[in-house]
């Protein structure tokens, strides 16, 4: 078991998501930055869908009760194992009683803790991703214990890698959304010429942008939405749906982020700048 001594800002178990239940309104959920999770799991020779912990801005304090191996990926958050510093993207041996704790956030917003074989929390509708009320709780709290399998004497093929982070990119790649044609020339110029900033309203459901563009009075029937769908409210607010985002919505879907760019946006926080580029 991994015991949560302190959860930090927002700590959850995530795999790549819960697929096949959109038709009854279940969001995909899953890791926000899939790219980082895949890298962390790959280093441990895990399956890419093996469950990891998603750490948001302020890291947790965690205690292991049996031998295993871990790797850290995603945001650069200063981390220590029994007070000794450890780096992202290296395979780290863990012994019974070891304590992993986190300090200052240096880069990005969401860090990942992958473990040999993946965390073994209960699957609900084929996924371990926490999403309330599909799972019993939305996130981990003090005292929670997450099961994992014991691993001794693992010889990693690669023990550490130098990674060029994907998430320092400021430009997000977008496709035309289903209601793209509603945009006026003025709105198009605004969207693609200006720089936008992430507002305080940013979480696993959606990222809102601080700057407004010209609004609209188009009303439409509720229709499907996906992670990465950019909705435009009548007031001119752009709302980018993320992994816990609702499966349907009633605002025009003007743009759709590329999947790669969802992983980039997942590492942005309040006040970070971004631009859009149509592909």
């Amino acid at each position: 078991m991994l015991k949560v001594l302190k959860p930090g800002l927002y700590l959850t178990v995530q795999d790549l998501g819960r697929f096949g239940h959109r038709d009854v309104g279940v969001p995909i959920a899953g890791a926000m930055d899939v790219e980082s999770v895949k890298k962390g799991n790959l280093l441990l020779e895990n399956d890419e869908n093996d469950a990891v912990l998603e750490i948001t801005m302020t890291g947790p304090t965690l205690q292991f009760d049996t031998d295993t191996y871990i790797s850290l990926s995603g945001a650069h958050i200063v981390a220590t194992l029994n007070n000794e510093p450890i780096d992202n993207y290296s395979v780290i041996k863990i012994g019974k009683g070891d304590i992993l704790s986190y300090g200052r956030l240096e880069k990005g917003f969401r860090g990942y803790l992958a473990i040999k074989g993946g965390f073994q929390s209960k699957k609900v509708l084929d996924s371990r991703s926490q999403f309330y009320p599909v799972t019993k709780s939305a996130r981990l709290k003090d005292g929670d214990e997450i099961p994992y399998n014991k691993t001794e004497n693992y010889k990693p093929k690669i023990s550490e890698v130098k990674i060029e982070e994907h998430f320092e990119e400021k430009t997000l790649k977008v496709y035309k959304g289903p209601e793209f044609s509603l945009l006026s020339d003025g709105q198009l110029t605004e969207i693609f010429a200006k720089t936008y900033t992430v507002s305080k309203e940013n979480n696993r459901m959606a990222y809102q942008l601080s700057e407004l563009i010209a609004g609209h009075s188009h009303s439409m029937l509720t229709s499907g939405t996906l992670p990465g769908t950019i909705q435009l409210t009548p007031a001119g607010r752009m709302i980018i749906l993320m992994k816990d985002g609702q499966t349907t919505g009633g605002y025009p879907r003007i743009l759709q982020l590329s999947e790669e760019s969802i992983s980039v946006l997942a590492q942005k926080k309040y006040g970070d700048e971004l631009k859009f580029k149509l592909v």
């Binding site: 309104g25 969001p27 496709y175």
Partner: protein, 245 residues
């Protein structure tokens, strides 16, 4: 039956949006469901589909897709659909609702605004069959069509931060049930004790399907408590009738 014209739009790297004429209509919904049945017959793994009113979002979970190829596949499927119409089982579900003031905290205000008595409001709300045009927004949230115009009322000017699970609400042309605690701006007139979404039922977390119909039935507080307990111990079975037998 002749199929309606459809338009197919790309929707990111692994999805397409298929749209039928821009209307809320039972025959359009039936055409969408026929298309889905025909598509499922092709048995291509990895696709998931979700309906909302006049549109179908089709997502391929396994990989990125080629839009033109997908578009052709969908058009071919629509041709095939026209030739072979399949039988589909649809249900009318009777869902109990307790309209007691304890749950329906807005019912008196709604009755004043609509200028009908609370009894008449309940009578109208329970005497119609509502079509399920989609499930989305929250797990198990049904988009219901067919509300009588006499019950149309704007949503509340300030949404509530927490609307209790099971709350039955009215908002413009819609009525519906909140399947979980949620913020919300609908006018709450009652509460339904039935779990509309149960993740422990791996094969069928939501018993209602798009295309089914819902009718509400007014129950007392005592019956409400009984159904609630039956639900908790797992012996509650919602009442259903096969529509197209």
């Amino acid at each position: 039956m002749k199929s309606y014209p459809i338009s197919i739009k790309p929707f990111g790297e692994r999805a397409v949006l298929v749209e039928w004429p821009d209307k809320v209509s039972e025959s359009i919904l039936a055409d969408i469901l026929d298309f889905m049945d025909a598509f499922k017959e092709l048995e291509i793994p990895g696709w998931e589909m979700s309906v909302a009113y006049n549109s179908l979002t089709m997502v391929y979970n396994q990989d990125h897709i080629d839009f033109e190829e997908t578009k052709n596949m969908i058009l071919e499927c629509q041709e095939k659909q026209a030739k072979s119409k399949m039988e589909r089982v649809q249900h009318l579900w009777t869902l109990p609702v307790c309209y007691d003031l304890e749950f329906g905290m807005d019912i008196e205000e709604v009755s004043n605004t609509l200028d009908i008595s609370v009894e008449e409001l309940i009578k109208q709300h329970t005497s119609h069959q509502y079509v399920v045009y989609g499930i989305g927004f929250l797990p198990g949230f049904m988009y219901l069509g067919g509300l009588p115009p006499t019950l149309e009322i704007p949503r509340r000017s300030e949404p509530r931060l927490k609307v209790q699970k099971g709350s039955v609400g009215l908002a413009s042309k819609q009525t519906g049930i909140y399947p979980q605690d949620s913020p919300g701006g609908w006018n709450i007139i009652g509460n339904c004790p039935v779990d509309l979404f149960d993740p422990s039922k791996e094969n069928e977390p939501c018993f209602v399907k798009v295309g089914d119909k819902i009718q509400f039935e007014s129950i007392s507080k005592a019956e409400y408590e009984l159904h609630k307990i039956e639900g908790e111990v797992g012996i509650y079975e919602p009442e259903k009738v096969v529509l197209n037998a």
